[in-house]
């Protein structure tokens, strides 16, 4: 396959890519042939095998799989199914030529240190779940609403939380903590039998099952369960729970064929420790005790995606915080 480009007189001058995420840059470095998988108002997705690259204007925010360009995507005139060729620091798709030769590589800043008020911040955010859209997973996580998705998701989130939690003490299930309160006796029994961070067969199976239950569950471009898991991975990374992050990352990658290929690419990036700046802002706000800022950040990510990710982060922070005591 030739990756040479024939820039005829009809081809517009190339568009400069301003910034590239680390995953997107790696994919472009490898090169190859792909196609336009989706076109939205402010962004489009190129698919190359299992990988997706998001190309968008600066308003979408930087991310690991994102290329930021100086143009409105809706006006490029590209359509789903068009072929794309990547190589020589350039992407050709339709009559658009993107030039990566002078782009910066974007990486998120380091995570802040978690402040002592993390449990209080999480409780405050849980109280704000009522502000989320009716079909969000955060309502299921914090005991609000009774949609079909919430009914299905609630025990699955409880199972995930039980994997994260250390053996429960008699006081761990409280009225204001519906996730812990919803844990079944059976699940608690399993927790008691296993050391919190052990990687015994039982806990490994429990993790795999918890992930398989959540992955691909729910509405939207990225199913809510996937957003939940991405929030969990990001929070574990922020809390430097390296071993647990790695275990969850492996389980997520193993189950990635149970969700859409696009969402799977986001999950793989999160499992490798890469998140976008909007999510980074949200997690950092939780870590520094700014509940209002975390909720505000959540409302700016997708329809329910921000809230679903927030649910994963808060459920994880509550459970993982117990490990740090």
């Amino acid at each position: 396959m030739s990756l040479a480009f024939d820039c005829g007189a009809d081809v517009d001058p190339s568009l400069a890519v301003k910034r590239a995420g680390v995953v997107a840059r790696a994919v472009c470095r490898r090169g190859g042939r792909g196609e336009v998988a989706a076109v939205f108002e402010r962004s489009l997705y190129l698919r190359l095998g299992d990988d997706f690259i998001c190309i968008g204007d600066p308003t979408i925010g930087n991310g690991p799989t994102t290329l930021i360009i100086a143009a409105r995507v809706a006006e490029l005139g590209l359509q789903r199914g068009q072929s794309a060729f990547i190589g020589n620091a350039r992407i050709a798709v339709g009559d658009v030529l993107l030039d990566l030769s002078n782009c910066e590589t974007w990486r998120p800043p380091p995570w802040p240190i978690a402040c002592a008020t993390l449990p209080g911040t999480c409780a405050e955010i849980a109280q704000r779940a009522v502000e989320s859209p009716a079909d969000s997973l955060v309502r299921a996580a914090f005991g609000i609403g009774d949609t079909p998705l919430a009914r299905r998701a609630r025990p699955r989130i409880a199972k995930f939380a039980s994997w994260l939690s250390p053996p429960p003490s008699s006081s761990s299930a409280t009225a204001d903590d519906p996730v812990n309160a919803a844990l079944s006796t059976e699940l608690r029994g399993q927790c008691l039998l296993d050391a919190p961070l052990s990687r015994g067969t039982t806990r490994g199976e429990m993790l795999a099952q918890a992930v398989r239950n959540l992955i691909g569950l729910g509405y939207g471009l990225t199913p809510s369960g996937d957003d939940f898991l991405i929030g969990a991975l990001a929070m574990l990374d922020a809390l430097q729970q390296t071993n647990i992050h790695a275990a969850l990352g492996r389980a997520v990658v193993a189950a990635a064929d149970r969700t859409s290929p696009l969402s799977a690419s986001f999950l793989r990036a999160a499992a490798a420790g890469h998140v976008g700046e909007n999510l980074h802002r949200m997690i950092a706000a939780i870590m520094t005790g700014e509940a209002d800022a975390a909720v505000a950040a959540a409302t700016h990510i997708g329809h329910t995606s921000g809230w679903d990710t927030l649910a994963g982060a808060v459920v994880t922070a509550r459970s993982a915080d117990d490990h740090r005591c």
Partner: protein, 502 residues
Amino acid sequence: MSVIRNEVRRATYLDSIILMRMSREIAALAGVEEAGLIMGTPANKEILREAGILGPEGEKAEAGDLILALRAADPAAAETALTEAGHLLDRPSTLGAAVAADAPRTLRAALRELPEANLALISVPGDFAVAEARKALDLGLHAMIFSDNVPLADEVALKREARERGLMVMGPDCGTAIIAGVPLAFANVVPRGDIGIVGASGTGIQEISSLIARAGGGVSHAIGTGGRDLKAEVGAITTLMAIDALDADAATNHVVLVSKPPAADVARRVLDRIAATTKPFTVCFIGLSDFALPANARAAPTLKAAAELALGRPLASRAAAVSPLHVRGPYVRGLFAGGTLCSEAQVVFAAAGAAVSSNVPVPGAAALAGAPAGHTMIDLGDDEFTRGRPHPMIEPAVRDGPLTAALADTNVGVVLVDVVLGYGGHADPAGHLAQVLGARRDGVAIVASVTGTDADPQPRREQVAKLEAVSVVVADSNADAAALALAAAGRANTRERGAAAR
């Protein structure tokens, strides 16, 4: 007998917000009993199976496929619904093709197609708006910059360059204009008339022009300036040029100027310019009441008052005829898509001596700190709500969360909302609001204003009917709605005090 139908779109990715909107639209189609539009992952197929709407086609879907599953009252209804749903699903995917086929990709190419054009409307990310505006000026075009997030220094430089060339830069962040009868960006369909409007406020122009139109008047031109034009740094460059233009325009007999309170020296410069004209002016510096005016100008404290002064007669008001409201809590929570409508509501409350707070406070109102308490007016179009997501005039679901929170707050007795119609806005904002509100009220009165006209793409009459069908009280203007909400909350206060006394 009910029938199940599934349609599977292979490897189809749609934006989440569009997916949710389509789901609602499909579920609302005639004869549809239940519907789901969801990625075909194993977990989601379980949900559809449990709901009893997963058919053999849906069973075969893969994780990257989009499943449309529905149950309809009968086969005919199912087929009709599938066809309608298919149209909805095809709509966004044809966007790229339509743009490619019809729209020029550069300003220069657009000018080749329309050589007599004299204005460029620029709507690109803020980082690139300045460059596009300079291109427009270089081509001899006035520029209307819809984009926001343009640095103030760039705005000043652009406007000075334009002034030297005799061109006008409307904006940045200029959401509304009506030039020679043509609505631009967020604007309403109003008849031509002899009233000119200069506005640093988009929804201010919309409310005033709509009130004028509904009262039988008309608008010659409405020139947006951008929200920062009357700041000291910019010095009202565009406002002054717009006043010059309307002063020279034979079709304009009265000019309305609407803005947030300007810097003092800028106000003086603008009022001096007004004094030099022979035409009557109405000045609405929303939130500012104590300022000296030239003899040919009168001050309007509210947008409604501005429309009345421009028309030369009071507007009809149904507010006094609304039956008494029964509200459970003593406070009003205003949730606004329009920033100036939020300001106007604060002015109404402050003028009545009621303490009010806001995330965008006018003089006399308090800055909102932390969770809303007391009478609170929230501008949902402010940057904190719109960064990275659509403006609430485009996507009314932005209001859903704050609305749900207000309905759950037992201190809130009245929720005050605005519905803004016209080009650029959502196709059915009242329909969305009515769906969210449903019949559930729990002792909370909903009072609304609907900015727009019956000639808008969303006819006002139909939008009002949708709200009234779910017991929303619709006032004739935003100012009337604010006054009505305050009066209703006042009755709750009186009841509360009475109960306490007993």
